[in-house]
């Protein structure tokens, strides 16, 4: 459509921009930053800048862009995870803590408590949920929200600053690993998957919630129109940052398809790799088991 050709034109222009030197192409690899091509070393810096600037209105923008649906998607992710007391869980790129809070609430759920026996209560104290994010601003927002929700003093919640491609956790130490709307921002997805495989225990599960590709004919066009016209405009209005949301929309298109991503997860060593499309493919939850 017209929109797409405009963006392709922009992309061609950007190749000539100072962001990528032609001589440095010979020595370093380039990767995608939305529809732009950038050097790998720069991508994480640029992603960092994006999230620093959106951190404060991140949650509000999520609500506006998805019409509140992102909450349901995260609920689905957590129910698939099936958390249990005594679990050691790692939520990567989970800056503002959405998924982590839901997991904690699920474990502490009163209804569940009724069904438990004494042994479980002791085990409950061993629950640990690590929230790892590369961007300290996002973590700060998360810590504040934790206070508001009453998790401020909960020892189970641990906030860690770290890189998904080089986690500081030990091998075979986590029961669960989730990454919600974060893996597109990683420069080397294979490295992040390999790290996920490394830190998980035997029987541990990997779950990834990510915006993905829509193939349904008419819905696809509607979705494209919404993404490229409405979202950057919303970004400008609400967060005062059109560029970041332009990046967001482009990075979704550049991300591998559901099948391709499932293959990448399998290549990282996971078994029983499956994916579930939500809202016709707008969002997909990929899951894998480590053995």
């Amino acid at each position: 459509m017209a929109l797409r050709s405009i963006y392709r034109g922009l992309k061609k222009n950007n190749l000539l921009s100072p962001l990528c030197n032609s001589c440095s192409h010979l020595h370093s690899h380039s990767t995608s930053f939305g529809y732009k091509e950038v050097r790998e070393e720069e991508k994480s810096q640029m992603v960092g800048n994006v999230f620093t600037s959106v951190a404060s209105s991140y949650d509000l923008m999520n609500d506006l862009m998805s019409g509140g649906l992102h909450r349901l998607w995260k609920e689905r992710l957590v129910s698939k995870l099936n958390p249990f007391p005594g679990m050691k869980h790692l939520d990567v790129a989970g800056g503002t803590g959405d998924v982590a809070f839901r997991i904690l609430e699920s474990i502490n759920n009163v209804g569940r408590r009724a069904m438990r026996d004494i042994h479980d209560d002791n085990v409950l104290d061993e629950t640990q949920i690590f929230v790892c994010d590369i961007n300290p601003n996002m973590l700060n927002v998360g810590k504040k929200r934790a206070q508001e929700r009453g998790f401020g003093d909960d020892k189970s919640l641990v906030w860690v600053e770290g890189d998904a491609e080089a986690l500081k956790f030990e091998d075979d130490s986590m029961d669960g690993y989730t990454i919600a709307f974060g893996i597109r921002n990683v420069t080397h997805i294979e490295k992040a998957l390999a790290e996920a495989h490394r830190v998980l225990k035997r029987g541990g599960r990997f779950l990834c919630l990510e915006l993905s590709h829509v193939e349904l004919p008419i819905f696809k066009d509607l979705y494209d129109y919404y993404s490229f016209s409405v979202i950057p405009a919303l970004g400008e209005l609400v967060a005062g940052d059109r560029e970041s949301y332009q990046y967001l929309v482009e990075s979704v298109r550049r991300f591998p398809s559901q099948e391709k991503f499932a293959k990448m997860i399998a290549e990282a060593g996971f078994d029983k790799v499956e994916y579930e499309n939500l809202v016709g493919g707008v969002v997909a939850i990929h899951s894998g088991l480590k053995f």
């Binding site: 995870l81 099936n82 249990f84 225990k201 029987g203 293959k263 078994d271 088991l289």
Partner: protein, 287 residues
């Protein structure tokens, strides 16, 4: 013929109930003529497990798809079945906790811990508690098949006694779990699980009739299985409230004497009914 095909099918049914249902495998009864073909097609896919199953799954149009390590299908023969074996081991271990924890997440978590695997694996079973119940049902069917193979004295009995004995053997396998069996029944009755539980019961009833020497190829085939299905279900439910003591009074073991009496009565009635119907049909012949 059915039995050997069923034996090959069972592990697949046990581990892939979700995937199998969306394949060509018949969920309901199918006419006897089609049956062998369906069984052998499924059996063939079992034999060529790694390659064929991958293709089957690729053609699955449901919202979830699975791909195993996509590297070299030949070499990874063992690892491909690996996670399924692990899941089966976890379920086997969980069964030991069912008596105390019921057919629930808690039993499966305890089972996973016992095997040395992270309890997160419980989340990967598509319908959690239902997976445990279905595993148990398949396990019992497999054990029944093994017993049928070993026991030669079945041929000495008249058909009605043979059927009654087989149903009794099968129900006795459930006896240890009887206190939690109502929960299992309610799990099986849930809408998302009912297709699988129906299929498992159909296989069970088919197996019993086959062992009892049934060779019908017409409407009788359906009638016999439906009737036996009814007898089996009612006896199963009767057993839930049966507290009649057995011969081992001293051990105060519930031996379900009343249940077996009930079962014998029902089977006898069914066979009598069959005789009555046959006589009616003969009477209607004008000679």
């Amino acid at each position: 013929m059915y039995r050997s095909a069923a034996r090959r099918l069972l592990p697949a049914v046990c581990r892939r109930t979700g995937h199998f249902r969306s394949k060509a495998f018949p969920v309901r009864f199918s006419a006897p003529i089609i049956h062998p073909a369906a069984f052998s097609a499924a059996a063939a896919s079992e034999n060529a497990r790694n390659h064929k199953l991958n293709n089957f799954e690729a053609s699955n149009s449901s919202s979830s798809s699975s791909s195993n390590e996509g590297r070299k299908p030949r070499v990874t023969d063992r690892p491909k079945a690996h996670w399924q074996e692990e899941q089966a081991r976890v379920l086997q271990a969980s069964l030991r906790h069912v008596i105390s924890l019921g057919w629930s997440d808690a039993a499966m978590i305890a089972g996973a811990r016992e095997v040395g695997v992270s309890p997160s694996i419980v989340g990967s079973f598509p319908r959690k508690e239902a997976a445990l119940v279905e595993f148990f049902m398949d396990d019992c069917l497999q054990r029944l098949i093994d017993i049928i193979d070993l026991k030669e004295d079945l041929t000495n009995l008249i058909p009605s006694n043979r059927v009654a004995k087989l149903v009794r053997i099968r129900l006795e396998m459930q006896a240890p779990y009887i206190s939690k069996w109502p929960q299992a029944l309610s799990i099986q009755a849930q809408p998302s699980n009912i297709a699988t539980s129906f299929k498992q019961r159909a296989m069970l009833v088919d197996e019993i009739w086959h062992a009892a020497g049934d060779e019908s190829t017409d409407i009788d085939w359906y009638v016999k299985r439906t009737v036996l299905g009814g007898i089996y279900s009612t006896t199963e439910i009767y057993m839930l409230t049966d507290t009649s003591p057995g011969f081992a009074h001293l051990l105060s073991v519930v031996d379900f004497r009343d249940t077996w009496a009930f079962l014998d009565e029902r089977v006898r009635e069914a066979f009598d009914l069959k005789k009555t119907v046959q006589e009616e049909n003969l009477d209607s012949v004008p000679y």
